[in-house]
């Protein structure tokens, strides 16, 4: 009888955690949870799953900041181009808008060229020169391999010093797939 009731409760446990139930139903589930360990366990698992998903999407601040800055300026630039396109028919431009139109052709061409270059780089680049930093501590990593470890490559903030960090034993996240992650540029 209790098992039957629990299976009903479990159907509502998600909306309960999300605060999407009517106050009366929510109160009823709250009452049940007080006395039922297995439903409480299910709720706690759900909450931890939710928390893990959110964590998984949390970039490092550096990455997020640079991506969002890039996005903002790309949108702004795109809008300017769109506006110029809608206001200026191609035959009515003065020298300025002519140059602007050139930019419009050149920018996408450059982007296309960069993409092609990028693809060729990716496909044909041998597994060399994975990392390159500049300055006094300039360092190029030609190849890197190993077993039973995961490697992170960093550069330090001030002097761009390259850091090769290997994790021999990652707890508590160690699993079978945590063997070797090959780097190939």
């Amino acid at each position: 009888m209790k098992k039957n009731r629990c299976s009903k409760i479990l159907e509502w446990i998600g909306p309960y955690a999300d605060g999407e139930l009517s106050p009366s139903r929510s109160a009823m589930i709250g009452e049940h949870l007080k006395d039922c360990l297995s439903c409480r366990t299910a709720l706690e698992r759900l909450r931890q799953t939710q928390e893990l998903i959110r964590q998984g999407f949390a970039f490092s601040t550096v990455e997020e900041k640079s991506d969002l800055e890039a996005l903002h300026s790309r949108v702004k630039h795109g809008i300017r181009l769109q506006e110029a396109e809608s206001k200026e028919p191609w035959w009515s431009g003065d020298l300025g808008s002519l140059l602007f139109r050139w930019a419009r052709i050149l920018v996408p061409s450059a982007v296309a060229a960069a993409l092609v270059a990028g693809i060729f780089f990716k496909v044909y680049n041998p597994p060399l020169s994975v990392i390159k930093t500049a300055g006094k501590n300039e360092c190029i990593i030609d190849s890197i391999e190993g077993a039973n470890s995961t490697v992170l490559l960093f550069k330090t903030h001030d002097s761009d010093m390259t850091v090769i960090w290997l994790s021999v034993d990652i707890e508590p996240y160690k699993d079978a797939s945590n063997s070797w992650i090959p780097y190939s540029a």
């Binding site: 706690e44 939710q50 550096v62 790309r74 992170l152 945590n178």
Partner: protein, 197 residues
Amino acid sequence: MSEDLEWVRRSQDGDQEAFSELVRKYQKRVYYLAYGMTGNREDALDIAQEAFLKAFRSMKGFQGGGGFYTWIYRITYNQTIDFMRKEWRKKKLEYQDNQDLTEKESPIMAVPSASNPGQDMAQKELNRVIMDAVQSLPEQHRSVILLREIEGLSYDEIAEMLRIRKGTVMSRLHYARQELQKVLMPYIKEGEIREKK
């Protein structure tokens, strides 16, 4: 919300600065939605950019009924689906296969400021498991879980955005969470649950 309306009104009159404010306010959430759907930062940037440009082009037709954010989410979502269905995407994936790490995360990064490499590595490993799990969900379930867990939309808002019934939102969410929980079970701390007995 009322500031949204003001910015929307001014954007409709062609005020680029007002639109820029809307971009600033919603870019993070738009970007995360695209990133969650594609699992790729570069693709997410492209999609988010195109979504905002499309919104700007269609600004005059926007009625303002469901709020700007629902509207921009819908545009982003549709943009993402279009993007994912394009043939070239598959080709691109072929040569990404062996370089997940280099494509999704730059192989070299600045040392994070709040953690040491050991913690950072463990977190990155976990993030990869989570991202892979989300990516392995069917498209319909992935979108619902992202809109709920990452964007924090209510069931009604998700239903409106995806143009599905609220009951469908609930069942998709239920399924997606179950699937994710299976994969993430090793990372769920049972000890904490037992302590709360």
